[in-house]
């Protein structure tokens, strides 16, 4: 169990340990997750509009 630091130096170290290609792949993965989330939220909102209610 670890408390969250103000500046996450472990994340910085993890990215510094990557090769440039690995960093690009990681950025691509993050972008893919953002797209998954955005698509999912848009579909949930559309479903809620169709159902005449707010998103669950």
């Amino acid at each position: 169990m670890e408390e969250r630091p103000e500046v996450d130096e472990t994340l910085i170290a993890a990215f510094l340990a990557m090769t440039p290609e690995e960093r690009i792949r990681q950025n691509d993965r993050t972008l893919a997750m953002i797209e998954e989330l955005r698509d999912g939220i848009a579909r949930a909102a559309e479903f809620a509009r169709d159902a005449g209610s707010k998103p669950r």
Partner: protein
């Protein structure tokens, strides 16, 4: 189900029926906040069954704690607790948060989430308005610096 290496972390968690709430930067970005983030923050439901599913997924993804010279793996005994586990997986960095600011755990946050589908499986995302409310209460300088951006995103109409 695709192999974990080919799926996003989110899709893998959803496909494995792990109950989590996506919080933090990715949740905000997905709801229109113009910020950058590099890791996925999740708050898991802390029941024994759900944490067992989560640990199984994490071990499949070769998860280990960041910032440790030796390899330290997440365990059910650790993740059932309220603390924060900062992990690196084969699919990228992942922060597993037992609870977030104000002792908010999965059950507390649940009413303020949106259920979405990823690959046909449900996963929950913390609403932007709740993220903003939590940041307003936070005394952390990082949260205070981010607050104006999040508030603007909440007022605006994200494209």
């Amino acid at each position: 189900m695709a192999s974990p290496a080919l799926q996003s972390l989110l899709a893998t968690l959803a496909a494995s029926h792990v109950e989590v709430i996506v919080v933090g930067g990715l949740a905000a970005v997905a709801q229109g906040a113009p910020i950058t983030t590099h890791d996925l923050d999740i708050v898991p439901r802390r029941t024994a069954e759900n944490i067992a599913r989560l640990v199984a997924v994490l071990l499949d993804l070769d998860a280990r704690y960041r910032g440790h010279a030796d390899v330290k793996r997440p365990t059910e005994a650790i993740l059932i607790g309220k603390g924060h586990s900062l992990l690196m997986t084969s699919s990228g960095p992942l922060d597993v948060l037992g609870e977030i600011e104000g002792q908010r755990d999965y059950d507390v946050l649940l009413p303020d989430t949106i259920e979405i589908q990823i690959g046909g499986n449900p996963i929950r995302v913390l609403k932007l308005e709740t993220i903003v409310a939590i940041k307003r209460q936070s005394k952390h300088p990082k949260d205070q610096r981010m607050l104006p951006v999040l508030e603007a995103a909440l007022k605006g109409t994200p494209r």
